[in-house]
């Protein structure tokens, strides 16, 4: 599973995309967040961290179907 990264999450991870190994594949947004917190503790220091599934904000209960486009959304600061 590939996760798109932007802004500070790209800098924390050190690449534009993150691959979640098949054996760790999270079933929900909430499980993905738990996995990320373990792998990259610096993500927990952010003011907030949202996950987008197919370009929509997703809550923790939302499943992560294979083939979905998943992205991390750190605090936005446009405008």
């Amino acid at each position: 599973m590939e996760i798109l990264l932007f802004g500070i999450t790209r800098e924390i991870v050190g690449q534009n995309q993150l691959t979640v190994p098949t054996q760790d594949r999270p079933e929900t947004v909430g499980k993905l967040k738990e996995w990320l917190a373990q792998q990259y503790p610096a993500l927990q220091k952010l003011s907030s961290l949202a996950v987008a599934v197919d370009s929509e904000y997703a809550d923790d209960a939302q499943p992560l179907p294979s083939g979905a486009e998943v992205a991390l959304i750190p605090p936005v600061s446009g405008g």
Binding site: G7, L46, S47, A52, S77, G79
Partner: protein, 136 residues
């Protein structure tokens, strides 16, 4: 409605897109690069967007504005890439028969854009740089 993520803001284009024979008022809000933040001198900004999602979120906000106010025209342009002091980075435009709707909708659109649209700004100072809003 005209919604875009661009390399360069085009104010003339935005104004043309807002003109309408039935509109008696046109509002344009232009967000620009300020030379200071939190008491430090800013040297430049760099913007990054998750483009497909940003466009989708901007469209949602625009639809809400259209439902709330009788608008003739609506423009949202946001720039990405490196921007120098004084350069425009976002333009929000609205037009309506009477000015009240344009003023209110324009304010709503920029306020909502700042809350939900996945665009990020990195502020560069003389000695370091930070992603704005990233940390508490």
């Amino acid at each position: 409605m005209h919604i875009s993520i661009v390399d360069q803001i085009d104010l003339n284009e935005a104004y043309q897109q807002l003109q309408s024979d039935s509109a008696g008022g046109v509002n344009l809000f232009v967000g620009t690069v300020r030379d200071h933040a939190q008491g430090k001198q800013v040297t430049k900004l760099v913007f990054e967007a998750y483009v497909p999602m940003a466009l989708k979120q901007m469209e949602k906000i625009a639809l809400q504005a259209q439902q709330q106010w009788p608008l003739e025209g609506l423009v949202m342009q946001h720039a990405v890439g490196e921007k120098q002091i004084g350069e425009p980075v976002v333009v929000i435009g609205t037009s309506s028969a009477h000015r009240d709707a344009s003023f209110a909708a324009c304010r709503f659109l920029i306020d909502e854009l700042k809350k939900t649209v996945p665009i990020w700004k990195k502020e560069y100072y003389q000695d370091n740089s930070v992603w704005v809003n990233a940390h508490p």
